[in-house]
Subunit: 245 residues, 2 copies
């Protein structure tokens, strides 16, 4: 069984949450958009997604193809991969908890995206710059602290040692928290210098994931697409600001 | 085992997706905010959510308490309840599919919310009315058609008869699609008169769910909070507009 990942080229985007699960566990996977054969490349992605005969079409990338099944929605993909790749505990209650954490991270990711695109995804940033400034100010002053308060509390209250979000081992939610914090470091270096001090356990998850040997190797490889201003986490200097504390 | 639902009073909000699962299956549940005893009411909700000792705190309502477990995030709650209440098929692949559909509906719900709150949830609509007009125009002209195109395609391509999203029976994703369409009828009557014609299978899911005897009884009961301008789906006349087709 080969895992085939379908995601846009040239940006980390939501595909990166799936890539990290594969990379952190040394799991082979194929990036369809990098292929040049039939059914590959961006054309292959579009044809697969828009195939009028499909009974299980995904709404948008990222999606996986596993055998004849397409699996879409990032959190749904990770809920599927987590048990297969050893990235979530065995108990049903643990799986619900990690899925819940992932969905909260997904909400945060959507809010970060809407920081630079508060009016329409379809339009350029330059068409909504004034609104982006207002929304990102609210994001940094109110929303990010609320999310960080939450994840810091989860980390403090986890009764098991290790500093992870769930139980005593790294789960896919930890990988996703790493990715969110890495993205925020890129997008908002001023704000993150404050948050990194205020939320040491969240920062420690970021640092611990980055030190995992397979993740560290991946981050140095050419497979890790650099952050840029086509992704979710974008650095526009005028949007960054100091934290409110 | 009693299901205890924690959600804000006075609005349907995201709690309604969970209520519909209980109501459509005649499953008894307790609404914590309606109680007046210790640990109930809004104070009980806040204390449970903010309990500093909890190892599994929810980020926000809605959440369920089942025994000593708290289960948060709407799609996660429904993924848990679906199998227990007979609102999803047995096969793992079916469960992934219905979860995927639910997550796509959750994305749609977030976009509808941001239509009237494009700048900050924390601020009043009146503080972001100009931006709301721009964002809702994009929602009605581009985003809603894209979501409806998708769900209509899923319904057309479902090989099993019955007109439901997954297999041949009503799932919790159908209940959620009903709720989204009901909300859009309230919020955007002009736009929905166009969408209802353009997407007959989506409308048929709405109508079929509304006709389910237990749902019909619920909708007529005092337990169904009327739509209003504190929820996700809000009717502001100036935001409604005709569909682009």
């Amino acid at each position: 069984m080969t895992f085939e990942l379908f995601y846009w080229p040239g940006l980390q985007g939501r595909g990166e949450f799936v890539r990290l699960a594969f990379e952190a566990t040394g799991t082979p996977y194929v990036e369809i958009v990098q292929g040049t054969g039939p059914g590959q490349g961006v054309d292959g992605l579009m044809r697969t997604m828009d195939d009028p005969a499909r009974v299980d079409p995904p709404y948008a990338p990222p999606f996986l193809r596993v055998g004849d099944e397409l699996i879409g929605q990032t959190a749904n993909i990770l809920a599927y991969l987590g048990p297969l790749l050893g990235l979530v505990g065995e108990a049903p209650r643990t799986r619900r908890w990690v899925n819940q954490l992932q969905l909260t991270l997904a909400d945060l990711v959507a809010e970060v995206h809407d920081g630079h695109h508060p009016i329409a995804s379809r339009l350029y940033y330059s068409n909504q710059r004034t609104e982006a400034r207002r929304r990102t100010a609210d994001l940094i002053d109110y929303r990010l602290p609320r999310f960080f308060d939450y994840f810091e509390r989860v980390l403090v209250n986890n009764p098991q040692a290790g500093g992870w979000l769930s139980e005593g081992a790294m789960s896919y939610a930890d990988l996703s928290l790493f990715q969110v914090i890495a993205g925020l470091y890129y997008a908002f270096p001023r704000a993150m210098s404050g948050f990194a001090k205020a939320y040491p356990r969240c920062r420690a998850v970021h640092d611990a994931v980055a030190r995992e040997p397979l993740v560290a190797a991946y981050l140095k490889s050419s497979r890790r697409i650099p952050f840029n201003t086509t992704g979710i986490f974008r650095h526009y200097k005028e949007l960054d600001r100091a934290t409110p504390f």
